[in-house]
Assembly symmetry: C2
Homo-oligomer: 256 residues x 2
């Protein structure tokens, strides 16, 4: 490995995850069985879905009673009122409705669709399970990092990833929603200069770049590659959590 | 290599670029000297800056005469009026002013800052050079892909990358501005399903994920790693160009 290389490996051997599973131990086991010894500086990107599952953030729609507001949202979007109730519960504000899509600002400050409430890969549709984001994805990332350090003596960075949309781009892309051991916004080093000696400027959102890279390998749907080990990434270590990355919308088009 | 691996390599040996250089030939040479034989399915991410330079998209500020509108923008932002003129020339609309930053919709449909006009790595500040985006980054990407095919018989995908901001994220991240051989928005395969057999949905913006991954390796400022070879990426081949990815802002806060 050199400063010219970055390698990503989706760890095979991550089993189907249930509430209470020790995700860090499963990652260490999968890495070892795959012939990888975790190393200081490695970045582990972990899909939100399996983090949520270990933390029991799975809800059965049958257990949800929709409020009048949820019924109204269901009318406007053609969605299940119980799903709408979860979306409202998870959101600070509904920002926009685009067809069936509900654009939200969630309690963590993330601008997302449906407050991160996701029906895919949560369980069988007919059984009606929904997956919610971790309550505190930074805390989830820290727990995984700390437990990996406990198990292996190695300090890695952990990024909890999710698929997000962007206002000026079609489709969704992998992005960071929780961080441990890597700063959210990277400042150019003092004295750093461009090729011509001009001072460097501009803050870098490196964590979304790495989350996106991992997401390109994770695949989607049935790929079942929820943990990606990145080796050779250049990043700034630190524990800012995700908040410095998040820009809340200046104007909202819809109040709850 | 397997479906579990993705490898990125910043090609060393890309020289400082001048107008008229055959960038594809330089890439092939750098790859060969680095021990890499380009292979069908490889993705080459090429920094906008060197593409612009080969295409002569470098302007000396001394040659620019600012209009009254540019003088007004300079007053409001504290920037050089000649730079402001270039920004206005490159932009369809000025969307917002945030301190010194000018958020624009450019003629290509990209939402960017300063219409993509960049003073860094264009030349020495004192000499006052600015770098503009390629006139048609898709055409640039196609030229590089076609020339690589001519030189090596290999069909690669080419992504022209730039650093862009996002409204809901601090800092900039690598993103795609021009494409050849890879579709802008990836549709889930018909019949694709999640782990539980539920139908998959949602369009994927894979090209920004790959551009971001490359950007994480390219570094910034003086790193001089403008070409990244990605091997093992999963993507859909095709020639949509960048347009299907671009969402124009629904509401603009400022008219030119």
């Amino acid at each position: 490995m050199s400063t010219w290389d970055m390698r990503l490996r989706a760890l095979p051997g991550i089993p189907m995850i249930s509430t209470g599973d020790d995700i860090a131990a499963l990652i260490c086991k999968a890495a070892a069985e795959d012939g990888h010894q975790l190393t200081d500086g490695d970045v582990l990107c972990v899909a939100q879905k399996i983090v949520s599952k270990t933390e029991g953030r799975i809800v059965r729609l049958a257990d949800v009673t929709p409020s009048p507001q949820a019924e109204e949202l269901a009318q406007r979007t053609g969605r299940d009122p119980r799903w709408c109730q979860l979306v409202l519960d998870e959101s600070e504000q509904v920002l926009d409705l685009i067809g069936r899509h509900v654009v939200t600002l969630d309690h963590r400050g993330l601008v997302d669709t449906a407050g991160g409430v996701d029906l895919s890969n949560a369980g069988i549709y007919d059984e009606g399970w929904a997956c919610l984001l971790p309550v505190d994805p930074d805390a989830s990332a820290r727990r995984i990092r700390d437990r990996i350090r406990e198990l292996t003596g190695t300090t890695v960075a952990v990024i909890v990833t999710d698929s997000l949309g962007s206002p000026h781009r079609e489709g969704s892309h992998g992005a960071a929603i929780g961080l441990a051991g890597i700063v959210a916004v990277e400042k150019p080093p003092t004295g750093d200069a461009d090729l011509y000696g001009n001072p460097a400027h501009g803050d870098l959102n490196r964590v979304d770049e790495l989350a996106g890279a991992a997401s390109a390998l994770m695949g989607q749907s049935g790929a079942a590659q929820p943990v990606v080990l990145i080796r050779g990434a250049h990043y700034t270590t630190g524990d800012t959590g995700i908040t410095p990355l998040l820009v809340r919308p200046a104007n909202t088009t819809m109040e709850r």
